[in-house]
């Protein structure tokens, strides 16, 4: 055995350093958008940014924690309704209320997890759906929330439009960039190491000291937080909350489509997927059902024949990683590993 020696661990590549620079520049440009662009541009970008944030959350669950949730709409609804609660009922400033909505969702996600984590695989999926339905039914049956017909978030609706639009834009940008960075940070940290190991071989991980339940639970709670905050951002623009739409399964369907198209289990995939989904939505959504049928077909085809999605296919072909989570060992010259 030898003592401590000259070792280092390389965690980035030239490509990823370039990507970082481009990323920082892009974010800087995005930050400045409300200062020079018109309202419709920033409104459009809000949609795209929230899609990225939501997709990152779903990818964290399905792609890393192995939790196929079809109940994330529950937390979006919680985001929407707690935005109303915090502003209209408790009188908080909407911009302050948005991040706080995540705490409501996180609090609800804990007992929910205690129940749904008892189910595995496909039954876990439907279990999360039931939980979202329960939340919807509770909200729809409380008269104070406006019942089934919902209500308008007055405090937000009464804000000056340009203030609301700008603030919402920056909040959306923060949600998207935050979601990407948080997921990236998680994957580079100890818990990310655990999540990746769980994905590869769950039974073996526990014997190495990994608290599997806690790792999955943290991903679940974080995703609940992220979905609620993003949901609140969305409703800063929509203004009107209503149980059937705020808790609609179509929110989760959107996340699934984006992640499947872009590539599950990568950080780049959901970003790419969100851009594609958004483009499709802008160009084809007027076709209504046909547009959704097309998305369904796309999801089936990709799942069956291109399981890695678009980014996965690119990675397999060229080995590109813009967000490297690798840990390459570098030692002194004499015993350099292969």
């Amino acid at each position: 055995m030898t003592g401590p020696r000259d070792l280092s661990v390389q965690r980035s590549t030239t490509l990823s350093k370039t990507a970082l620079v481009i990323g920082v520049v892009t974010v800087a440009v995005l930050v400045s958008v409300p200062l020079w662009a018109d309202q419709s541009t920033s409104r459009t970008l809000v949609s795209l940014l929230t899609l990225i944030a939501l997709a990152q959350m779903w990818n964290l669950l399905a792609g890393y924690a192995g939790l196929m949730s079809v109940g994330q709409q529950g937390y979006i609804g919680i985001g929407a309704y707690s935005l109303w609660l915090l502003t209209d009922v408790f009188g908080l400033h909407p911009f302050l209320a948005v991040p706080l909505t995540g705490l409501f969702a996180a609090a609800i996600s804990l007992p929910t997890a205690a129940l749904v984590f008892r189910l595995k695989g496909g039954y876990f999926a439907i279990g999360t759906w039931v939980m979202a339905e329960i939340l919807r039914l509770i909200v729809a049956n409380i008269p104070q929330t406006g019942g089934g017909s919902g209500r308008t978030i007055t405090a937000v609706a009464q804000m000056p439009v340009d203030v609301r639009m700008r603030g919402t834009y920056w909040l959306a940008l923060a949600a998207a960039v935050g979601a990407v960075l948080v997921v990236y940070a998680i994957l580079r940290a100890r818990v990310g190491l655990a999540l990746t190991a769980i994905r590869d071989n769950e039974p073996a991980v526990e014997s190495l000291g990994v608290h599997v339940f806690r790792a999955k639970l943290s991903a679940y709670v974080l995703a609940a937080f992220g979905c609620a905050v993003t949901g609140a951002v969305v409703y800063m623009n929509l203004l009107r909350i209503q149980p059937d739409s705020s808790f609609s399964i179509s929110w989760t369907a959107t996340m699934i489509f984006i992640v499947v198209i872009g590539g599950v289990g990568t950080i780049e995939g959901p970003i790419l997927g969100a851009i594609i989904y958004f483009t499709l939505q802008e160009t084809l959504s007027s076709y209504g059902s046909w547009y959704l049928i097309l998305l369904g077909v796309l999801a089936v085809v990709i799942t069956v024949w291109f399981p890695g999605g678009l980014w996965g296919t690119l990675v397999r072909r060229w080995g590109v990683h813009l967000f490297p989570v690798q840990r390459r060992l570098r030692l002194g010259k004499a015993d350099e590993p292969e």
């Binding site: 055995m1 030898t2 401590p4 020696r5 070792l7 661990v9 940290a189 100890r190 190491l193 655990a194 990746t196 190991a197 994905r199 590869d200 071989n201 039974p203 073996a204 991980v205 526990e206 014997s207 190495l208 000291g209 990994v210 608290h211 599997v212 690798q326 840990r327 390459r328 060992l329 030692l331 015993d335 590993p337 292969e338």
Partner: protein, 241 residues
Amino acid sequence: MTTILEIEGLRKSFGGVLVTDDLSVSLQKGEALGVVGPNGAGKTTMLNLIGGAVRPDAGRVLFEGQDITHLARHERCRRGLGRTYQVPRPFVGMTAFENVLVGATHGRGKSERASYQTAVDALERADLLHHANTVAGSLTLLDRKRLELARALATEPRVLLLDEIAGGLTEAEVNELIETIRALRSEGMSIIWIEHIVHALLAVVDRLMAIDFGKLLIEGDPHEVICSPEVEYCYMGTERV
């Protein structure tokens, strides 16, 4: 010598079949204990009961004097119980170094940076350092077995549980492995080693036990145990059908 690990009256049945029947064993600090017995004798179940993958129907597991019978697997690992699996379970998408790093960080609750040296040492002791950056999915069987060992070592165990780590290896490879395990033992590691390859066991262990039908048949000096009528009886045959 002090007792580091003790199991008392462990009993476990699967679907009506008793696989561990009132089994009691104790392991001294720094001791290497070998376990032999026919396939299906309950050897792996014994390790599973100690490691926490399986909970007993009755009995206790004591580690360093504390009752760990109801602790979860990861808790036992963090207390100092490391184990390898008979069929290697590598994290196929990660490199050997990253595999070992999982054990080094989570097994000891250390930060990642502080774990790098531990991981490198574990790889080196298991003779796998030259494959540190190789993706585990493309390792050969011998290297996968070494990876099992390296991952367990990275958790810095005080008791190491080895499950047929030499099975499926060539004679020369077995000899290499014997040297590795001998070195661990001489550093003071306590070891329980299940193995079919008897000469490998004899080269390392201080004490040998034989089990069959989940029961302890005999334990004691390795050579005496191997030559005992009990072991001959269970290997050489009696009516079992």
